[in-house]
Amino acid sequence: MTGTRAPEPLDPLAPTGSWDRLVSAALVGTARREVPDTPDLPATPGGNDASDLLDRAALATVRRAAGYVPATGTTPLTPDPGTSDESAEAGPGATRLLDRIIADRPELLPEWLERVAARGRCAARASLPLLLDEGARHSQTRPAIVAAAGTRGRWLAAFNPRWSYATGVPLPGDRFSERDWGCGTPGERRRALLALRTADPDRARELLTAVWPGLAKAELRRELLETLATGLGPADEEFLEQALDDRSAVVRGSALSLLTRLPGGAHAERLRGHVRAHASLRDDGSLRVDPPEGRDAALRRDLALAMPAPDAESANGYSERLWALVTHTPLDVWPELLGTDPAGVVAAATRTADAEPRSRLLAALANAAVVQRDAAWARAVLGALGPGPSRTTASARSGPLDTGRLLDLLPVAERCDLTLRALPAVRSSDRRGELFGATRGPWTDALSAEALRLLREPRRANAPVAGYEALCAAAALYMRPAHVTALPDTAPFDGNAAVHAYDRLRDTLRFRLDMHREL
């Protein structure tokens, strides 16, 4: 509120003496009260009292509407200083497609964003509000949305709390700004530090170290600490070790995830030591991991774990420590310890007789592969799960084994190949649809050819349809859209639901074909 004078902006009729008197007379009624004097209004023809009052009220009303007084002294917004190039905006064709995607085909948004980014373009400015709203709803597409929204989008996001996720994100071309780092909003500070981290990681860490003790809010400490992920190196380990003693659990957790990415450091070596102390091979060749001690303070600190509950050891506490230890210890410790390759380690883990510890151990190894982004281990764990990829394997006690995330660690050609080799043995069409969906794309031509064959296969009108629908849904997203030419206009079979899925697939592929032409 900097000097704005807007008496009652919503009400054009700021009360004046005559008007107030007219209102009170109208409330009481002209049967009981005389029409008041209104010296500041022109004379009215008169007539009965009520009519006279209404005449004068109408005069006042119209006069105030026509004589509206605007606000003065408003301060305009600080405009977007960005000099982003408008020629880099997506064209009208691509923008129309985006509107339709947001309205009807949200599943295609990631592909649209990917293609826009691949051309070095950003979204048209008028689309930014819709796009930022999408990001507010779906956090997994946020990074791509922020990139497509560009500097204009980031500027815009500062005005709407729903879009705050987009304010702290760095964009290419950002420079470190002393002002932002010194007295900016949390988002601006984070951005400034990230920009510096990209250019001079050591200097950025020194700045952070200097202000660290004064950062009262745990959430801010976590956000700034996580900027170290950019340009992370052995020089950061000392600072991270310190953060492992932070009073806030979220900060300790972040420090641990960053330390996990430094397998050559002292922390990693200590974790290897814990594994060596607790894991061994039994006589029958199965892998045995003893419960790590809850009272072992050094281990708790290294794994950023809380003090166990005083009522001694619960099964949960044991599971939690095992899970944390396996997840964060560099996976190279296992082959070294057991003298075998990753597949051998997984085989030893599956040889454990008891179902529960077995599935728990396997799930922890799978999680380690995901956290440490290790394709070789992903391959080994997937190999032990049986033929073909699946995203739904779960075990009751240890939680779901997220095989989808393991699959994503493999190159796409390898995923397609896995599926292609697994398919002949699969009888159930539901399982087939699931396989295709889990593979994700873009599919190789060989896998597309197999999908096309299944899509055109004759089917009985009353055959179960779920598997076919799943196959259509997967093909719509992962097949190259040019393959639509291999699908006849009309489904080569009857049966409403399957024909509907088939039509929808052709429709989506043709939509994507348009998109590929536009972008």
């Binding site: 509120m1 900097t2 704005t4 807007a6 902006p9 919503l10 009400d11 054009p12 009729l13 009360p15 007219l22 209102v23 109208a26 409330l27 009481v28 009624g29 002209t30 049967a31 009981r32 009965n48 009292d49 009520a50 009519s51 009052l53 209404l54 005449d55 009220a57 109408a58 009303t61 119209v62 105030r64 509407a65 026509a66 004589g67 509206y68 605007p70 606000a71 003065t72 002294g73 408003t74 301060t75 305009p76 917004l77 600080t78 405009p79 977007d80 408008e86 400015r125 008028a126 689309s127 930014l128 509000p129 204009r152 989008g153 500027w155 815009l156 005005f159 709407n160 206009d489 009309t490």
Partner: protein
């Protein structure tokens, strides 16, 4: 499908005025019976298709194939036609006639009908005037306790009197009679209704434009044909300022208000179109263009219909002005239509400002408040830099931006 060989029997039906009225054909399918396809080209409700195949697509591939064949001049005019074609076409013609059957126009009778209607409206409006006086005599203090029937009786009476516009204004009163500052807002509405009733009673004594505005607000609709026949004609190059869709008074309908401004006359024209909600009302005008054409104006002097299609050309931003100039133009229009609550204004070098709410401000900080809601698209397009903005101004609701012209002069609808 579009091969002559697939259509052993086919033909075109001549239209009485020359050209082709319909195309039909019998397509050899895989089954024993041929598919019977036909297209009625000059039907009243647009082109119509028929085919005996089970496809749910309209037009189906058979119809499309037939049309393709016809376009290649492979379907000749034929005098004789199969019975199924004759039945279908005559059924369509009969339906059209039923729909458009009008009583023969008897000028004396028509004049009498018109007079009866005018008298009914006059009686209704007079009753409204007396009813308003009664409300003020009795006092408004008890109004929030009234049930809806208190207002509905008067609103219904006005519907019966064929004064639909006035009726809608009365029906909107209970919503005003509660909440913050209701006595003032209610007195405003009542006094404007009173002004409308008095205006209607004044009749021919009023300036023709004011009278046009009165009659439009009361709900005495002018037919587009009458406007084209008798309305004021203005020829100009009309710049499209922008449009806004709002719910129409009729339930389930959407109205599009599209504003144009004449380049030479400076005249403001309003094009109103309607559609069922869920569909976009169709207009002949596109944003970022201007059309050189003759418009016929309704009696209120603002609403207009184009007399012919005209020539459309791309156009840059319209000339805009300051906030003060915008308010002046509203005041001038309100002098002819005191009930005016929506008026198009164009501001140049307008920049968004955010204080207790959003504003659009002149370079010197003079500003109009925006209606509720956030101007995100405007901000996204301008980045907060000054720009030419067309908006609807309502003193009660605030400013609603409808079009912004970006740095390259491209129009973006908001």
């Amino acid at each position: 499908m579009a091969k002559a060989g697939s259509w052993p029997e086919r033909g075109a039906v001549a239209a009485p005025a020359g050209g082709t009225s319909a195309v039909w054909g019998e397509c050899k399918g895989s089954g024993s019976k041929p598919y019977l396809a036909a297209v009625h080209l000059d039907g009243d409700g647009g082109t119509a298709y028929k085919c005996s195949c089970p496809s749910r697509k309209i037009p189906c591939k058979h119809v499309l194939g037939l049309l393709a064949l016809w376009a290649q001049e492979e379907v000749d005019l034929r005098e004789e036609r199969p019975e199924w074609v004759a039945t279908w076409l005559s059924g369509r013609v009969a339906r059209r006639n039923r729909a458009s059957t009008r009583r023969p126009v008897d000028p004396a009778r028509a004049a009498a009908t018109l007079r009866e209607r005018e008298e009914a409206v006059a009686a209704g409006m007079e009753e409204l005037r007396l009813w308003l006086n009664d409300q003020i005599d009795a006092g408004l203090a008890e109004v929030p306790k009234y049930g809806y029937d208190h207002w509905d009786r008067m609103a219904k009476r006005l519907v019966d009197a064929k004064a639909g516009g006035a009726s809608a204004l009365v029906a909107g009163l209970p919503a005003v009679a509660r909440g913050d500052r209701w006595p003032e807002r209610l007195l405003e509405r009542l006094s404007l209704l009173h002004l409308l009733a008095c205006g209607h009673r004044a009749g021919e004594a009023l300036d023709p434009r004011v009278r046009g505005a009165v009659r439009a607000r009361v709900g005495i609709a002018s037919k587009a044909e009458e406007v084209l026949e008798q309305g004021e004609r203005v020829r100009d190059t009309w710049r499209v300022l922008g449009w806004r869709d709002t719910a129409a008074p009729e339930a389930g309908m959407l109205a599009r208000r599209l504003w144009l401004r004449g380049r030479d006359t400076g005249r403001t024209a309003l094009s109103l179109t309607f559609a069922r909600s869920g569909q976009a009302p169709a207009t002949a005008f596109r944003s970022g263009t201007e059309v050189t054409a003759e418009f016929a104006f309704y009696p209120d002097g603002h609403r207009a219909v184009p007399v012919h299609d005209g020539d459309t050309a791309p156009a840059g931003p319209p000339g805009g002005g300051t906030v003060a100039e915008a308010l002046d133009s509203f005041a001038a229009a309100a002098a002819e239509d005191p009930w005016l609550d929506t008026w198009p204004v164009v501001l140049d070098r307008a920049a968004p400002a955010r204080e207790d709410r959003w504003y659009l401000a002149d370079p010197d900080g003079t500003a109009l408040p925006l209606t509720a809601g956030d101007p995100w698209r405007l901000l996204a397009v301008t980045g907060g830099h000054p720009a030419t903005v067309a908006a609807e101004w309502s003193p009660a609701e605030g400013l609603t931006p409808i079009t912004v012209w970006d740095r390259n002069g491209k129009a973006v609808s908001l």
